[in-house]
Amino acid sequence: MVKKEQTKSFARKFVPRIIKAALLVIITYLPLYFISTFIEPFQGFFPWYMPTTNLFAAVFMIFLVVGVFTSGTVYQYVFGVARALVTMIFFIYVLNGGIVALAVPVGGASANIMVDLRVILAMLVLTCLLMIGKNVVQAIDFVSAKGETKEL
């Protein structure tokens, strides 16, 4: 009887989290999939993009799933910070520090293209820093709220 209750409680606690994690993984993977499909014809120009994106997607999703499973604890925010950091590093790496240089073959000759995306990268880094800040503040709030509850 007790075992049955335990199983029920476990299922009640974890099934919604599994569903939430699965949904978040799908939602996160979709834009990456579409970007990869869009980029595929031009993949020859930036071969470093695909492996990096796959690695990023894997790491990001691991942190996402772990974050969902640890929700209700301070670790949720720790993984949130880790996720934002990974995202920031990914953007810095993929955008080559903001300067993207490509060599495109054009009718026997080669055209060198250089795009300065530092403004975009700065915005992306700012967003990631805001995400980190938000998670840190949330973690502080969580810990202080827990402390207050204990005191009471």
């Binding site: 055209a111 060198n112 300065d116 995306l117 992306l124």
Partner: protein, 259 residues
């Protein structure tokens, strides 16, 4: 604390939305900007040889293009710089297009005095094209390429043949100088005149003559110049000095020994 978290959350969301919007519209706009270079053309004009590189930009995107800067550097096979020229367009607003001819002027005198090889030997010019612009006043963009342009010598293989004499009277005779060359230039003909001065071994002028030249592109010239000379001064050998005055270039003297 809750308000701070909420504010940070909203700020993050707003920046993400703005960035995705900007990225999507930028990609859309970039795909709608058509630009390209036409075929370089070369023509003579008032003592200069003009290399004209047509440039067109059609901005049907959502953002303005600004500070368009096109630079063309020409080098020859010896990597010596001929000229570098720049065309600057301050702004190309959205929905507009521009068409500019980027002209590189090379002084013919420079070519003839410093770069004599170009008159008599074929060569290949390297054109380094570089185009910089500012997309949406936020994303600097640069594209550069290099292409080659064949140079055909207008007086390729210029040579004089065996000189012959035609006795006119006891004091004068006609000196006949066969001349041949090929105009390899794909860009201009050799139209104008050629003055020939004949000197003997002692450096004395025997006589001169002026001939008209009309040698179109990719064609040869095979003719002769007749000069009446004083029999007493003829030594059988010496030098012929050639002076060219054409619509494309002026050059001389070209000194060639005979006999």
């Amino acid at each position: 604390m809750r308000y701070v978290v909420r504010a940070l959350g909203w700020a993050t969301k707003i920046i993400w939305i703005l960035m995705i919007f900007f990225a999507a519209t930028s990609v859309y706009s970039a795909l709608n900007v058509k630009m390209g270079f036409g075929q370089p053309q070369v023509f003579p004009s008032g003592g200069y040889m003009i290399i004209s590189v047509p440039l067109f930009v059609n901005n049907t995107g959502l953002y303005d293009l600004s500070e368009l800067n096109m630079t063309v550097a020409v080098t020859d096979c010896n990597e010596s710089l001929v000229p570098t020229s720049t065309t600057f367009v301050p702004s190309i607003p959205r929905g507009s297009s521009i068409e500019r001819a980027h002209n590189i002027s090379i002084s013919i005198d420079d070519i003839t005095s410093q770069l004599l090889d170009y008159l008599f030997n074929d060569s290949v010019f390297n054109l380094d094209l570089s185009l910089k612009l500012n997309f949406a006043r936020a994303i600097p963009f640069q594209v550069s390429t290099n292409t080659t342009m064949p140079w055909g010598a207008p007086l390729y293989n210029f040579s004089i043949g065996q000189i012959s004499y035609n006795l006119l009277n006891l004091t004068h005779q006609e000196l006949i100088v066969p001349i041949s060359f090929e105009n390899h230039s794909p860009h201009f003909g050799v139209d104008g005149s050629m003055r020939v001065e004949i000197y003997n071994d002692n450096g004395e002028l025997l006589g001169f003559s002026v001939s008209d030249l009309n040698v179109p592109s990719h064609s040869g010239y095979d003719g002769q110049v007749e000069t009446i000379v004083d029999v007493s001064k003829v030594t059988g050998s010496g030098e012929a000095h050639f002076y060219f005055e054409t619509s494309a270039f002026s050059f001389g003297p070209l000194v060639m020994p005979y006999g």
